[in-house]
């Protein structure tokens, strides 16, 4: 155990901290789940990219810094501490990119990674369908071989697609072999949303922002190089990178440490109204945020030694999502009657409640923990 940072890591931290102090917008940007807000966030992403801070852990040639996992963690901590804008590019850089690095051809990597890093192309995730939520392998959207065209024609519907109405591209699973087993006949496609045969319809989330979309495919044509990995390997690829979504990359501890700090500030302003129960609940949240940060150090130690994120990510998913709910419940108790106001805490509360649903519901995660980590029978 050695919990000290190296001089190089400290220098990186100061650089990031100073850059953020100079550049983070003084006024919060409008919500990234609205059209204007999304554009404002892309402008922010462009500046991050110019400073080589949009994807620090990627290779330099794709716009990154070749930073190791510890520097990545430092970046995240500083980013959230500074209250910097939400990352509207996250589904691309955190969820698709790991799959591209592992399963993409060099040509695909060269084609897709640089514009992803700069925000010139933005990605949404096309997993869920009206009839396939938790039971993802039940998806019905199909890709049909078009031999004459030398590619595939896509049919069907994706839904709950986050920021689908504003993104330029979608990565998604489509059934390419209806005769194969449920998990077998699926293929991972990279699809531009602007092509013929694709219709995107944005719709409101709980907070009213147009952050969800339905995406309809009606014979849209894509060429063979739109397939990531092998045809029929989509499930395996999606699952190999699912841990990124459940664990660390999507929700780094910096986010919750910063939220806990804001909660403590709120408590200082409102303490006169807070009873002992709220005080205790607040300390629980602070401790849980520190626990998540400490557990992350263990996870990053293993990943720095070359381990892949595995099913343990389900433990983190349950923990961070429930922590986020608790943080916002405590905030509402502290706010008293003002908890009714549609402000940043109310927005945060609503989004926190989505945490136990997206990225695999917490019920599904508990099944995974019980069956895969505890060895209980299916």
């Amino acid at each position: 155990m050695d919990l000290t940072w190296s001089p190089r890591e400290e220098a990186f931290r100061s650089e990031v901290r100073e850059w953020l102090a100079r550049n983070v917008p003084a006024e919060p940007l409008p919500s990234g789940d609205t059209r204007e807000g999304f554009a404002a966030h892309l402008e922010w992403e462009r500046r991050l990219h110019e400073a080589h801070l949009s994807v620090v852990s990627w290779p330099v040639r794709y716009g990154g810094r070749d930073a190791g996992p510890w520097e990545w963690l430092i970046f995240e901590e500083e980013y959230h501490r500074a209250g910097a804008p939400q990352r509207v590019t996250q589904n691309g850089i955190f969820l698709l990119a790991p799959a591209l690095f592992e399963f993409g051809t060099p040509a695909q990597q060269d084609r897709y990674l640089p514009p992803m890093a700069s925000g010139a192309e933005t990605w949404c995730q096309g997993w869920s369908e009206p009839e396939a939520g938790s039971d993802l392998a039940a998806i019905r959207a199909r890709a049909v071989r078009d031999e004459a065209g030398g590619g595939w024609r896509l049919f069907g519907q994706k839904t709950w697609t986050t920021r689908g109405a504003f993104c330029t591209h979608l990565f998604g699973l489509f059934r390419t072999d209806p005769t194969a087993g449920r998990h077998r006949g699926l293929t991972y496609f990279l699809v531009p949303l602007g092509i013929d045969g694709v219709t995107v319809r944005g719709f409101g989330r709980l907070d009213g922002d147009e952050g969800f979309a339905d995406v309809f495919f009606d014979g849209a044509f894509v060429t063979d190089d739109a397939v990531l990995g092998e045809v029929g390997e989509g499930w395996r690829i999606a699952m190999a990178t699912a841990s990124s979504e459940r664990g660390l990359t999507l929700r780094s501890p910096g986010r919750f440490l910063a939220a806990a700090t804001r909660l403590v500030e709120l408590w200082r302003r409102r303490r006169g109204d807070a009873g002992p129960a709220t005080r205790d609940a607040l300390v629980r949240a602070v401790i849980a945020a520190e626990a998540y940060a400490a557990q992350t150090l263990a996870v990053v130690t293993r990943s720095a030694a070359g381990a892949r994120p595995g099913v343990e990510a389900s433990l983190a998913k349950v923990f961070w999502s429930e922590l986020d709910v608790v943080i916002h419940e405590v905030a509402r108790d502290l706010l008293g009657p003002e908890a009714e106001l549609d402000d940043v805490w109310a927005r945060g509360h609503q989004f926190a409640l989505a945490g136990p649903i997206y990225a695999g519901t917490n019920e599904i995660q508990r099944n995974v923990i019980a069956e895969r980590l505890l060895g209980l029978p299916r």
Partner: protein
């Protein structure tokens, strides 16, 4: 930055775990329960072998005949003692007294902070106590012990009082706080081990026990309870390790980290006990079944030296009220 145990720390823990498994199986724990009422000092299963291994004096400086290890080094071994529900004042002796007691031939227990009781006070030679803001040693002969029965009868508990002048000061407020913090980190480690052991035994049981023609472990209501225990352990364990580092290196905020660890480990162990019993059904409620040996230790240690709410309040005074670190 490296947040992991070393091979040496892990193999030390494995060796301690092996000794515990050999020397204190449930029968011997039960024998100790039967001796709860005897006033005579009892022999503690495993202690001689663990003394030979160096565990009992692991934190004592080498010039005093100890191994000169720090809390981080010994936490995995302490977890192993918890897994085995090792009886005896191991934490009090090794974590609390070890660094301050020069004489290696002496056995110690302790009662610090909000703890009114000392475990095994009648079985040791000396007690570590706080008198005012000073850390003191109190010879058993100079202590007035009032025997009490713990819910975990193996603990042979006593309320400790003394006449003015009996305790010998060995340190001031800083040493007193440090001794307390080492103690709660040690208990937190044992609580983790208890939680792990209860989870493992319960998983084994629900895989074997059939109802409605299937293992009860295939029922989601059972799975989700045990998954929650696994989550609680997963996120308490790093706090205990972090606290070990803090009491060894941080000085300043050591008390905050130590209290966070004790609170989280106590909550994890209480959750493990509750769900372990529920998932066992009536068999877990019987005196004959061994589950309660672990469960009652968890109930005892989660309350000893400050319960979770007490420790959270200690954290609150620093983190919320901005008081100087304990």
């Amino acid at each position: 930055m490296r947040f992991a145990w070393t091979e040496v720390q892990e193999s030390f823990a494995a060796a301690v775990g092996a000794v515990c498994a050999r020397e204190c199986p449930p029968e011997r724990l039960r024998a100790l329960w039967d001796a709860a009422e005897t006033a005579q000092p009892v022999e503690l299963p495993g202690w001689a072998a663990l003394a030979d291994q160096g565990l009992l004096d692991a934190l004592a400086p080498t010039e005093h005949g100890g191994l000169g290890l720090d809390a981080v080094d010994v936490i995995p071994a302490a977890v192993a003692t918890g897994r085995a529900a090792l009886p005896g004042p191991f934490v009090e002796h090794a974590f609390v007294a070890g660094p301050v007691l020069a004489d290696r031939g002496v056995r110690a227990s302790a009662a610090l902070g909000p703890a009114p009781f000392a475990a095994h006070a009648a079985d040791v030679d000396v007690l570590v106590v706080g008198a005012g803001d000073r850390l003191c040693l109190l010879d058993r002969a100079g202590a007035r012990l009032e025997r009490c029965r713990s819910v975990d009868r193996s603990r042979r508990l006593a309320r400790v009082r003394w006449d003015p002048g009996a305790p010998r000061p060995v340190g001031g407020p800083a040493e007193l706080a440090a001794a307390f913090d080492r103690g709660i980190v040690g208990f937190a480690a044992q609580l983790l081990g208890l939680a792990e052991a209860m989870l493992e035994r319960t998983c084994e049981y629900v895989r074997e026990r059939h109802q409605f023609g299937v293992p009860v472990g295939s029922f989601q209501a059972v799975k989700h309870k045990l998954a929650d225990v696994r989550v609680a352990i997963e996120f308490a364990a790093p706090l205990v390790a972090r606290a070990g580092w803090a009491v060894t290196h941080d000085g300043e905020r050591a008390g905050v980290w130590a209290s966070m660890a004790k609170a989280a480990a106590a909550d994890a162990a209480e959750l493990a006990a509750r769900h372990a019993l529920q998932c066992h059904g009536a068999i877990g409620y019987s005196w004959e079944h061994d589950l309660h040996l672990w469960m009652k230790r968890a109930w005892a240690l989660s309350r000893a030296w400050g319960d979770a709410a007490w420790h959270r309040e200690r954290v609150a005074r620093v983190v919320l009220d901005g008081e100087d670190g304990p």
